[in-house]
């Protein structure tokens, strides 16, 4: 049997103008090859509605799976979700499950969930959300098109979420836990916890806010019960942890 085929669509003026060098294509190419999926074509288009719709339609029809990167942030030129909806003839609006994910994230971070950020909860009807363990704003799967972020760490995390579903493996789930301590205080207990829970992975994303150090700890794995158990154990060690 022939390998499944895939294409990538990169959306972003900043790459076509030479300001930014795309980092996601090389990562996707390597991961798909490992997974036995043939990446057959990549297109890079600007933040232009007609160009995005035409490209996603052509690639979606020609290949088994399509991966997009970019254009799902909070600014006015982030039009990817609307273009995907148009390409599939679907309605689009703020979806409650996506809104709740973002609300929880910004509450946890102590940041304002404003109107611009609400744009990131716009999801086409009928799409399945893709988990974003790094910064919450979800990607989504519409038909055979996997709509993912342009920021490399988020793109990579989303790809890790969806790849098992494409190759017959169990989808990964994740839990994010915020701990308001410096990573130096977290590192020791976290290393021990990782040793006790070898079936899940732990990622640490440090931040500084209002002069205080903290980190979001992302726990990923399958099945979900294992991820929950590891998160419970982490919260038991750090009483100030916020899930």
């Amino acid at each position: 049997m022939a390998n499944p085929t895939a294409a990538m669509l990169v959306i972003g003026d900043e790459i076509l103008s030479g300001r930014t060098r795309d980092a996601n294509m090389h990562h996707l190419a390597g991961r798909l090859t490992e997974a036995g999926i043939d990446l057959k074509e990549v297109r890079i288009v600007s933040d232009d509605r007609d160009a995005i719709i035409a490209a996603v339609t052509a690639l979606s029809q020609a290949y088994d799976a399509v991966f997009t990167s970019g254009g799902i942030g909070p600014t006015h030129d982030d039009i990817t979700a609307d273009c995907i909806a148009a390409a599939f003839g679907a309605e689009i609006g703020v979806r409650e499950d996506a809104r709740q994910l973002l609300q929880d994230h910004y509450d946890r971070q102590g940041m304002e969930f404003n109107e611009a950020r609400m744009r990131m909860a716009r999801i086409p009807d009928g799409a399945t959300l893709i988990d974003n363990p790094v910064s919450a704003a979800p990607g989504f799967i519409m038909g055979n098109v996997h709509v993912m972020a342009g920021v490399p760490s988020v793109f990579q995390a989303m790809l890790a979420s969806v790849l098992p579903g494409l190759t017959g493996g169990e989808p990964l789930t994740s839990v994010s836990v915020r701990i308001d301590r410096g990573e130096g205080d977290i590192a020791g207990p976290l290393a021990k916890l990782a040793g006790d829970h070898p079936e899940v992975s732990f990622g640490s994303y440090p931040f500084i806010r209002d002069g205080l150090y903290g980190a979001n700890i992302v726990i990923r794995g399958a099945p979900a019960a294992n991820v929950e158990a590891a998160a419970d154990a982490l919260c038991a060690i750090f009483p100030e942890a916020v899930r």
Copy 2:
């Protein structure tokens, strides 16, 4: 008046498989932006005849100029020239001017001009050659499609040759001079020569062959008379120089 538009077509399985990271797109994007040409779309396709013909046809019709990279070397999977000919309905065969460029190059290098290398003299009827000052095998312009090498140093040199023609400037010409000495012996006199001829640029491409050191010095600029004068001056300094 709107800026002219451009697209790029990258040809190569090695990029889609993740083995190689494309270096030419970022370079082209930056240079076109400087030149006031809008790069609107990039496509990357595999070494597949139908895919190359379909992409070059679509891009050639949609944009003012198209740049391709890759697939013009001596191996059996280098099929770009044949695909471009097919896309334009043109005949293709070994062309005498291209064959002579390669013959001169291999004679100068003391290398065999074998059947595989002869493939690189296959040029579609009606095309204009693009100078390759680094390794001789020419690119070509067919309609609005600029067919260039995938090797970054050659791609960049070919782009430098054709950009002035797209922006109304005078085309650059180049001369290659082989000197069988180590670069350390060449560097001092070359620096002085470059100071005496500020209107042209000098590039040095060192090699080691049969245990002996040498370098190809590429002189580029406009008009051609300036380039010739600089080459004459270089040959006067190094009696063993071969043009």
